[in-house]
Every structure is written in C-alpha cells, then in structure tokens.
C-alpha cells in the first residue's frame, strides 16, 4: 500500500502558527533579549511566518536570523551528493540572548545537534529553545526534544513527512511508500 495522508491543511497550519506564536511570547520578549533563528533551508519559511505573527501580536520588531548548518552536519560524505549549503544571515549578536531555533520537521535530532554547534560559533546564548512544526515522535537518534510543537505524529522510518510551503498554500503530508 502506498499513498499520502494529509496531516495539516492550509487552515490548520495558520491556526498552528497563531497558537505557537502566542505560546512562545509567554516566555520570550523578542523586542528585548530573545531572538528567533530559522534553520536553512526548510525551517526559514516557518520561521518567517512565526516572526510575522509575533510582530502582528506585539506590534514590536522581532530580531530574526537564518542559520545554515550544512558544514556542521555529521552525514557529510556518507551521502552520494555533497550537501548544498544555503545562506546564513544573522546580523545581530546572540551573546547572552535567549535563542529560539525554528525548523519544519524534527525527526532524528541530528540537524538540531548540528544547529547547536553552528549557533555556538556565533556566540554564547544564555538559553536555547527549539520550535518545530511537525514532531515525528519516537524516532530520535539523539536525546533532543522540542519546546514548542505544532503537531506530533507517530511514523515509521520508511514514511516521509513533507511540508509544502508556497505563498498561498501550506500543507503537511505523510507519505507511505509501497509495501
């Protein structure tokens, strides 16, 4: 059997963004000592939506950066193709700031491990938290958990969670390969 199961549709994702943005501002003042960092390449679109939502709620500017983790990954050279890097844009200091990292899917936790390494090369944050749109539970290779979760799903290794962002349409689907 193969096919795709919709996990979140456009409206549900908009609701999730609204909910999760309110959750994070309970703990953080993004106009003061907290900053938002989207992880390249697929976390930045979700990160931008969260930034826009927080700015709409608080009416204050959010310090937002984008971090590429390609050079910090541990699967370099175990892949057939070299990993293609994206750009990093962090034009502020993260020293002693509270950092919220944002990504689309949390699966094995290896990307987050690499992101922590990459982040520390920019300074020493006072605290780091992690926000994710979809958490694939029970599939971690490392002891890493998200602080803010859009939706948790139970999936097996052969399945794939795909997040599609276009300007007008957002969708999250779970693909099951042929058995």
């Amino acid at each position: 059997m193969s096919g795709s199961i919709p996990l979140l549709n456009h409206e549900q994702i908009l609701l999730t963004i609204k909910r999760i943005a309110r959750e994070v501002i309970e703990n953080h003042d993004f106009s003061n000592d907290s900053v938002l960092i989207g992880l390249q390449p697929r976390g930045v679109l979700f990160g931008q939506k969260i930034r826009d939502e927080i700015q709409a709620i608080t009416g204050k500017n959010v310090q937002y950066g984008e971090l590429d983790i390609t050079f910090y990954r541990d699967d370099f050279r175990t892949r057939d193709m070299p990993l293609e890097p994206s750009s990093t844009k962090i034009d502020f200091s993260i020293q002693d700031k509270k950092v919220v990292m944002v990504d689309d899917v949390l699966y094995t936790g290896r990307s987050v491990r690499a992101a922590l390494d990459a982040l520390l090369d920019f300074g020493r944050p006072s605290q780091v938290e992690f926000m994710v749109l979809v958490d694939r539970r029970f599939s971690r290779h490392l002891p890493i958990q998200a602080d803010y979760v859009g939706k948790s799903v139970d999936s097996i290794e052969s399945e794939r969670v795909s997040v599609n962002w276009t300007e007008k349409d957002f969708q999250v689907n779970l693909y099951t390969p042929k058995v």
């Binding site: 175990t78 193709m81 070299p82 890097p85 750009s87 990093t88 990459a118």
Partner: protein
C-alpha cells in the same frame, strides 16, 4: 550537484557547471570567514598533505588556512630541507607520505604534469597548486570569482591578461576558466613572451599596452618570472616597464576606470607601478581574501567524493 571530477588537476577538466558550483560554495565560505569564529567542522576526519616542491607564499598559506578553517589535519612539506635533496624520487616521496594515511594531496611542482602523473598512480585526491608553466587552477578560479564579485558576472566581460604569458601557468588557467564562463580575452606582452599558437584558444592578441588597456574592463597583470628567464626575452626591465608597465599615467589616459588584478608576487616598478598597485582600482588584496574561500570550496567539494 556534485563536481564532475574527483581531482583538481586543471581548469581543463572542469565544466562550466563545476565552476559555478565552486563559486556558489565559496560564497557560503566567504560568509563563514566573516563570522566571529571562522571555522567549521566539515573536514575534521580528513588529513591533507601540502607538498610544495617549489617556492610559494600566498598559495601555500592560503591552502593551509583553508584546510584549518575546515578543521582538517594538515601536513606540510617543502622540498628544500627534505630527502628530495638526497635523491628520493617523487613517487617514493609521495607514497611514503601517503602511507601515513593522508586523504588529500595539494601539490606544487616545477614540472608540468606532475599532479596528473600522481593522480594516475597514487590512491588519494590530488589538487594542483601549480605545475610548471602548465596550470594553476585555484588561482584562475579565485581570479574569475573576484571578477564575478566585482561585476556581478563574468559573462561578456573584457579581460586583459598582460605580461609574461609564455612562462605563466596563471595565464593558461585563466584563459581556460574565463573562456568557459563566457568572457572575452585579450593577451598583451612582448611578442617574445606570447606563445606561438596561443590564438588557437580563441583569444585576441595585442602588442600595444595602451590599446589593450583601452579595450578591457579588467586587466590581470602577470609577474615577469625572473626564475624562468633563461634567455633574454626583452632588453631590460626598465625598457619592459616603459613599454608594458601598467602605470597611473596610462590608466589616467583611459576614458573609463578599469579594475587591476595581479596574482602576486608583484615586481613593483616592472609590470605594475606602485601607485597603481596601491590604488582603489586594484583588487589585489581582495583576490587573496577570495583565495581562501575558493580553496575551502574546492577542498569541501572534493572531500565529499571520499567515501569512508
């Protein structure tokens, strides 16, 4: 995307897509080099030997820095003060070094073809850091990258390569690289220092430096290579400077400002006058800065071909 070759022996083996991939990767490393901590852990399980059988300042330091910024382990070898002086053959020297479990070799040698020779005989990734008067691929890549950075793209740009073309590996690699990227190329120098059949590569040839400077957007001024001048190719350095030296006066006579490049080391007062070398038109030091990013990109992309 992945490079089409597993060694960097010369620009000749690269496709335009390879060159674009190296440039795109170098853009990312340039950003890394401007961070507070200018180091990434990508190559921490890779060992690289830098074998310099010929003198070098910039290239050697640039490769070494690029390797360290990528967290690779490095071995440095200089022919002077080594067993090469006792008569050890090249292949023996290299095999001995490789038996210390080295993954990549950066090699400079005065004999053209040495990197290719090694790539066919030893089991390691070979990177050519200059072989005789043949090729110097990373220099050509960083030159083209600097032009791309200055103008946005290389395609359609008019590039003058002036000076000692005959003995220059930089000239040949530059011609091949810029051609692949769609630039127009003119060579200028004394007729004795322009190789006979070089026009077959599709380049223009001009013996008047003033006409050549008026034609170009960028002038890459090459060094007169004293160490390779066994015969007399021109009467004196003073005469060379008068006829072919790029001076402030010559540049002021042009109707537009052009960009001046030089691969170093500069013979001040010979091919380039000091006031030009230190002027705002010269991007010589930016070339050196870009060299580290380009070499990081080359090492990173070639290392991804090594399977563990």
């Amino acid at each position: 995307m992945s490079l089409s070759t597993s060694h960097l022996l010369g620009i000749k083996d690269l496709t335009p897509q390879d060159i674009e991939l190296i440039f795109a990767t170098a853009d990312n490393f340039k950003e890394v080099l401007n961070r507070p901590i200018k180091k990434v852990p990508s190559l921490r399980d890779i060992t690289i030997a830098n074998l310099f059988f010929e003198n070098s300042t910039r290239t050697k330091l640039s490769f070494e820095l690029a390797e360290k910024r990528l967290s690779a382990d490095t071995l440095n070898f200089a022919a002077s003060g080594s067993s090469v002086k006792k008569g050890e053959s090249l292949i023996d020297t290299v095999n001995n070094i490789l038996s210390m479990k080295v993954d990549m070799v950066v090699i400079r040698h005065s004999e053209p073809g040495v990197p290719k020779f090694l790539s066919e005989r030893v089991n390691s990734v070979i990177i050519n850091a200059g072989d005789g008067a043949h090729e110097h691929p990373t220099q050509a890549l960083l030159d083209a990258y600097s032009i791309r950075e200055k103008f946005g793209e290389v395609k359609g740009k008019k590039v003058l390569i002036a000076g000692d073309i005959l003995h220059s590996r930089v000239a040949l690699s530059n011609i091949l690289c810029l051609k692949k990227l769609g630039a127009e190329i003119m060579l200028c120098g004394p007729a004795t220092l322009i190789p006979k059949h070089i026009h077959e590569l599709g380049v223009l040839i001009e013996n008047d430096i003033d006409k050549a400077l008026a034609w170009c957007d960028v002038a890459n001024v090459l060094r007169i290579q004293f160490e390779r001048q066994d015969d007399k190719y021109f009467p004196s350095l003073r005469e060379y400077h008068q006829h072919f030296g790029v001076t402030k006066k010559r540049l002021d006579a042009l109707d537009k400002p052009i960009v001046i490049m030089h691969p170093g080391p500069i013979n001040r007062g010979v091919e380039l006058s000091s006031d030009v070398a230190d002027s705002d038109q010269a991007i010589i030091l930016q070339q050196v800065e870009n060299g580290v990013a380009i070499r990081m990109a080359v090492l990173y992309l070639l290392a991804s071909k090594i399977k563990k």
